[in-house]
């Protein structure tokens, strides 16, 4: 190889080593694992190749529970957080005094530790022998409750999980939408005003189409992110998510790999690949749907 070529590869060597060792090889390996039956972590032996791992995972009630939780979380939080973020961004872009302050405050959750603040949420919602907690105090003002949101009924737990997830993902969505709104040329609004266009019509006929590519981007990344939910659930319900009945697919993967029920990389691999397949399918559907409804312009 000539000298110049060598130099290029030399510069890339660290990246290739890191990526090869910690990404490409694992990627291939995870497929191999997922087909190795009765893999034993300690002795690193297996009995044969086959699809048993998949059928085991698909029959595992914990996995089905995790799939159910994850789907509910996705279906509830993605539309709600995107809609709320849109509302807040529109509100933000329509004001001038205090705008920067609000923007700064709204961004705070992005730079906080999910585990740490999750603990605060847990305390706010948790009901113990000593106290009903702050949220139950609020509920009691309206004559409702008390409900144990952390160890209580499924709906209550799901509610907290969704709420915390939304709280965590909002900063990114607000930030992206606010800058998309700001990039819409002011002249369009001036032109619409002179033509006597009503606010709602301006919003639905001009603003929304103009920012639709951004919305689609947010919805797709939102779906992907929500499908990978895990640390939020750990923060609220502890590491033993199966016991709490609040596990997610990613949580199931890690539990299979490690922890009290762990030591089964083959099951973990099968579950991870199933998750990947689900996310890929949903993303493709998203792209197909959006293609029909989104306006891209140069």
């Amino acid at each position: 190889m000539e000298k110049k070529s060598l130099k290029g590869w030399l510069y890339l060597l660290p990246a290739i080593l890191f990526l090869g060792f910690f990404m490409v090889y694992p990627l291939i390996d995870v497929f191999v694992y997922s087909f190795e039956e009765n893999y034993n972590f300690a002795s690193q032996t297996y009995s044969g190749m086959g699809s048993y791992n998949y059928s085991y995972v698909l029959r595992d009630p914990y996995f089905l529970q995790a799939v159910r939780n994850t789907f509910l979380l996705v279906v509830i939080t993605v539309p709600l957080s995107t809609g709320l973020a849109l509302l807040i961004s529109v509100a933000l872009s329509s004001i001038r005094p205090l705008k920067q302050l609000f923007q700064t405050v709204f961004f705070l959750p992005y730079v906080t530790n999910t585990l740490a603040v999750g603990l605060v949420f847990m305390i706010l919602f948790k009901r113990t022998a000593y106290t009903d907690g702050f949220v139950n105090l609020l509920l009691s003002w309206f004559g409702a409750g008390p409900v144990d949101f952390i160890d209580g009924p499924y709906a209550a737990k799901l509610f907290v999980l969704c709420l915390y997830t939304i709280w965590v993902v909002m900063p990114f969505k607000i930030l992206i939408l606010t800058s998309a709104l700001a990039s819409v040329n002011q002249t369009y609004y001036n032109a619409a005003r002179i033509d006597g266009t009503s606010r709602t019509r301006i919003f639905f006929r001009i603003t929304l189409p103009m920012i639709s590519p951004t919305l689609v981007y947010l919805i797709i990344t939102g779906f992907i992110g929500a499908f990978k939910a895990y640390s939020d659930a750990v923060a609220l319900f502890g590491t033993n998510l199966n016991a709490a009945g609040m596990n997610t697919i990613v949580g199931y993967v890690y539990d299979m790999l490690y922890g009290s029920s762990g030591g089964y990389p083959s099951y973990a691999s099968a579950a991870a690949i199933l998750l990947f397949a689900i996310v890929l399918t949903i993303t493709c559907i998203n792209l197909l749907v959006s293609r029909k409804h989104v306006h891209y312009f140069s």
Partner: protein
């Protein structure tokens, strides 16, 4: 003039009511965002006894104490978690920068056989979710006996294909003439990269540094897999173990003190570099 035109929307009553509703919505969300922070600080300065005697939680305290902070640092090795995290964040970010800068430069500036093919390969790696590769990495690190070592923590966390892509795009905006001029003057590639490219692309460098640092500081999944010895816990794992094992007894004020201590560095960083961080995130960040 533009700003003025936007503001005098259809005046009189309709406009005013809408304005009030707008601010109410924003204030409401501001409250939702800030309240957990308030609650964590408030609880952290309530005494253990006072907190546990409040069956109905109080929204303020008249006898603040710093005892919980002392407890947080003495009862659990919080300082150690902290130091671990700082070291982990600094080392991972530095390594990432070195790897990323070299790779981005090679893609942007150098010519070699197989470059385009390799770049497409890199790009396709961007779509691979971390969850898929973490399993084998866990096995690899275990087999190499790297669990509960910093190498085991750091090495798999270094790579970020997206940052290579981001930096490469930025490098390519530096005019070719500068490179040729430097070549004519006999500048080596490495010197050109360090003396010309890096200063010119500083904003992007800063952006990816900050994003990576935030990611490292908050990372939980990999450190949990790679360590089970509290000697090597990062803050996220530390907080989780405090939660599960507590301070011998369930001491929520002390727990909140630990949460405050852990959250503070990033919040301070954010308040100092607000513009830079927000611009960086809108250019290349996702929460995940």
């Amino acid at each position: 003039m533009q700003s003025e035109t936007t503001h005098k929307k259809t005046g009189k009553n309709g406009g005013r009511i809408l304005r009030v509703l707008t601010y109410m919505l924003l204030a409401f969300w501001g409250l939702v965002v800030l309240f957990p922070f308030y609650w964590m600080v408030l609880t952290s300065i309530k005494s253990y006894g006072a907190y546990n005697s409040e069956y109905v939680p109080k929204l303020y305290t008249l006898s603040p104490t710093l005892q919980n902070y002392a407890d947080a640092f003495t009862a659990v090795p919080l300082a150690r978690y902290f130091a671990n995290t700082v070291f982990f964040t600094a080392a991972t970010t530095a390594l990432m920068l070195a790897v990323t800068v070299l790779a981005a430069y090679a893609f942007a500036r150098l010519n070699f056989r197989g470059k385009n093919f390799l770049f497409v390969l890199f790009l396709s790696l961007m779509m691979i979710p971390n969850e898929l590769v973490v399993i084998t990495n866990y096995v690899t690190i275990t087999n190499l006996d790297l669990r509960n070592t910093f190498s085991g923590l750091i090495l798999p966390s270094v790579t970020s294909v997206f940052y290579i892509y981001l930096l490469k795009e930025n490098f390519e905006q530096v005019p070719d003439q500068l490179y040729y001029a430097a070549k004519v003057d006999g500048t080596s590639d490495l010197k050109y990269l360090i003396k010309v490219m890096l200063p010119l692309c500083r904003p992007t460098i800063v952006t990816i540094t900050i994003l990576k640092a935030i990611e490292c500081w908050n990372s939980y999944v990999w450190p949990r897999l790679a360590t089970d010895d509290p000697q090597y816990y990062l803050v996220s794992n530390g907080i989780q173990s405090i939660r599960e094992n507590g301070f011998g007894r369930e001491n929520i004020p002390a727990m909140m003190a630990a949460v405050v201590v852990i959250s503070l560095p990033l919040i301070v960083l954010f308040l100092f570099f607000r513009k830079m961080i927000m611009a960086g995130v809108s250019r290349g960040g996702t929460k995940g």
